[in-house]
Symmetry: C2
Subunit: 535 residues, 2 copies
């Protein structure tokens, strides 16, 4: 045997040994991974069944069943918690992440493991007692909030909100350690907008605020003010239901065919629920405010399209979920505002609206209609705000949350600062705290760190629009022709199908080539409103 | 100290010792019982949440969600099985039943334990492999049944049905041991109609058969035959929906108020689901067959009233469930037929029907309408049968099941004997097996032992009517006046509120003072049909 052959032989032996080990290890790793994904699939299935029960409660349930339903939901939530904090998941995560071949997993597998671990840590690192205390205090605070709001009495609400904030601070401090964020508040933001920080948000929100306030002043100064009387015309609910379906179908959210994967129902507060082949939206019809349901249907359809068009092969995997609350909002606001309040959309849809409503709108002019649905007017209530003022409402809430969790302000000071900022940003006088600091349910139900997502969604939508415009310069023409197919496909390809493969900052760069910045959103608004208000 | 005092003293010591032991034991027993009832409550809650998911699938779910839904349901069923076969339940049952103070439990507690044990045994005594094999074979047989029925080809269906029957026989033999029944088939009947036996059923069904055949001959021989052309009049679906609600409300099944505990939706096959404060029914509207939904709504409302009016304090306990399938059917048939097809009911409701349907029925005469909805005519299809022939369909099915499980006949012989008995009982020629032995889904889906309940329900309803007549001689007048309140209260007090405290034979005696016998049901039919057919 020549030395060369000996060498080759030895190599082959080493190689085959390595291969054998490797196969064993890979087999083990692959078994661990499969097992983990099976457990995760069960949680997805269980959660989605629970979502139907929730949806039923809001839409279909006979009124007297509420007590039974709350017991059913409490049980489902206990079982879900047990499933998603099961020590087996913790053990599998450990086995996988410490495995010598871990590095060889593909990026999707690694992302799945990362997301499972993140969720598992969020669920298990907080002491059970604290979780229980927060749940209890949330229920109390929500209950008191309802009463205090009805009584226009912040003093009633204050002590319970203080307790809740204290508990949430404790939780935020623990989560800060787990997630290695700079501040406790960042750890809360990270739940809804991963890797986003108050520092970044402060910077872009300041720019946004300046741009919006300047735009608002121009709109207000314009002699050309839209006539909104047309929006008060009465449209029978039965017709509004038909309009809602037609709108949904127009933007590609199928709710009527034999292939439908969605449906529209009615609730006090509109929402979207479900994923993939079962995504349902709700709306609310007001006879004397027909655009309320028009824009809520378009908004929710935007959320629904995102959930329906996640990658089919990622179903039941963490990567097969939406990226963040902000990205979700970017999709709903894109359909509601960028598409749904555009001149081009109504060039196509107004004739349909006229057709569906008989003589109600037969005298209506397209330009005047588009001006009316885009009227800018500062108001006290966030959910009624126009595109120009909406984010200002959010920025005020963010400023307060951030300073509250940084111990720079106290719960007691919230109403005063709230009112001050409404005066400063919107020139609005808040008469009482029910139309002020107590208007939203978020804080009462312990949802801190969520508000920024709303404005981030709008900023994302501007950057996404810029990218779309580059790829599809004729996008407005497409809308004008009622051809939404290509735009939907672009959104599916460039946003929806990424699922949760990247955290928001990274996904934004993937989609738009740029980091978070407000210029595209401000440009979009400026271009649109300078036409409407002729400045 | 006098001897008497010493004696008393000793007694007191013994007594207090006994009391102490007794308290300990009672405390333990009561803790075991509470723990068992907590577990049972969880199963009830979980089951009822699953029922909503099932209901949603049949009524609301977007069509493309079916694959997702089947996975959700499979998971829920696995979890439910795990909950209801948990060794902890077995251990608690043992601890309770072997407890020295067991005899001191009250009758409701003992009945609960008996029912939990019965269900637990039914779930756990069958080998898991057999259960899995049966589940698999049921799915296969159902699938093949659909195809064979479409192809009118029993030969296609036969081999799979044979396999299923063999597996069910194995299961029935094991259950026979567990339940200590006389035959394997009795063990299957017992699942749906506890303590009922094929021997008893054979005896009463023979009497019923003779009575019905004789009645049928009289109706057929009568020169007075109802004109049913009126039943073909077209009624728009929207109006039928209004009729359905009005009917439900009339019999006390509230589906519209703010206190409603029910609702009506649409499915191909009508059904009732839920319990207590959330009991939903479905129906099917045909434009050219408006009575189809009228009687299915009344039928399902009868089921719904039973479930809604179980004793509130027994909610989540086995005693707080309906007694049996047969008793359930007694309630649905009572409302559908005894009330809903009576002259008195339509004396009250026909004006309402006319009012709701504009001019469709303005020329209709009450007597002729009542004759039309009570027309007797032998038909091939069970679900379309009138009151006189309905039970004959059931008796044929029972005869075949009983002989099949006693190895007196084979699957191969089913079509021939079926056709023979249809000729003998109903003078009907079955042209092909799709309108014959393959018409129902029951056997294909492994539901053996269920059919007798349908006819037993009718027999019970006759005995219940006899008891009601004694207590409330003016019951017909009440219906005529549209006053259903007292009749409903009587049913609640005498039937519904007993829940599952007694097995069917015992409950029947409680309600009616008599054992199972067919005379009241035959008397009711004879009285009614002798008027309609004037014999």
């Amino acid at each position: 045997m020549s030395p060369a052959k000996v060498h080759i032989s030895a190599c082959l032996i080493r190689y085959s040994l390595k291969l054998k080990n490797c196969e064993n290890m890979t087999a083990n790793l692959s078994a661990f991974y499969s097992r983990l994904m099976d457990k995760v699939k069960e949680i997805f299935l269980f959660d989605s069944a629970g979502a139907i029960i929730h949806w039923d409660m809001e839409t279909m349930m006979p009124p007297k069943a509420i007590k039974l339903r709350s017991q059913q939901l409490a049980l489902l939530s206990r079982i879900e918690h047990k499933m998603s904090t099961s020590p087996e998941i913790g053990k599998l995560l450990e086995d996988i992440m410490k495995h010598p071949e871990y590095a060889d997993l593909d990026p999707v597998q690694k992302r799945n493991i990362y997301l499972v671990k993140k969720h598992y840590d969020e669920q298990t690192k907080l002491p059970e007692e604290l979780v229980a205390e927060i749940a209890k205090q949330r229920a109390i605070t929500t209950d008191v909030w309802k009463k205090a709001k009805a009584a226009k009495n912040f003093a009633m609400f204050k002590p319970e909100l203080e307790k809740l904030v204290e508990l949430q601070k404790k939780a935020a401090e623990i989560l800060m350690e787990v997630k290695q964020t700079e501040t406790p508040y960042d750890a809360l933001i990270d739940i809804f907008e991963p890797k986003m920080t108050a520092r970044t948000i402060t910077k872009v929100f300041n720019e946004l605020q300046q741009g919006l306030v300047s735009l608002l002043k121009k709109c207000e100064a314009s002699p050309k003010q839209p006539d909104i009387s047309i929006l008060k015309r009465k449209v029978p609910i039965e017709l509004q239901r038909k309009i809602a379906k037609a709108l949904a179908e127009t933007v590609g959210y199928d709710v009527t065919s034999k292939e439908a994967r969605g449906r529209i129902d009615e609730t006090e507060h509109p929402f979207t629920t479900g994923f993939y082949d079962d995504v349902r939206i709700t709306t609310h019809y007001y006879e004397d405010n027909f655009t309320s349901s028009i824009f809520s249907v378009l908004h929710e359809a935007g959320h629904a399209l995102y959930e329906q068009n996640l990658k089919p092969e990622w179903m039941f995997q963490p990567v097969g979920t939406a990226c963040s609350s902000g990205f979700h909002e970017s999709q709903s606001r894109f359909i509601e505002n960028i598409v749904g309040r555009s001149w081009e959309f109504w060039k196509y849809f107004l004739p349909k609206l006229k057709q569906l409503t008989g003589t109600v709108f037969s005298d209506i002019d397209l330009d005047k209609y588009v001006q009316a649905i885009n009227r800018v007017k500062p108001s006290k209530i966030r959910v009624e705000a126009d595109e120009v003022t909406y984010c200002l409402h959010i920025i005020i809430r963010f400023n307060l949350e951030r300073d509250l969790f940084a111990d720079k302000i106290t719960v007691k000071e919230l109403p005063h600062i709230w009112n001050q900022q409404y005066k400063e940003f919107l020139d609005i006088i808040i008469e009482n705290d029910s139309e002020g600091v107590m208007q939203d349910t978020h804080w009462a139900s312990g949802l801190f760190g969520y508000f920024p997502s709303y404005a981030l969604g709008n900023i994302y939508s501007g950057q996404i629009l810029e990218a779309l415009q580059k790829d599809m310069p004729n996008w407005k023409k497409q809308i004008e022709n009622g051809n939404f197919k290509q735009i939907k496909e672009w959104l599916v390809k460039n946003v929806h199908s990424y699922g949760n493969l990247y955290d928001p900052p990274e996904l934004l760069v993937k989609i738009t080539g740029k980091k978070l910045h407000v210029n595209p959103y401000l440009s979009y608004l400026t271009e649109k409103y300078s036409k409407i208000y002729q400045f």
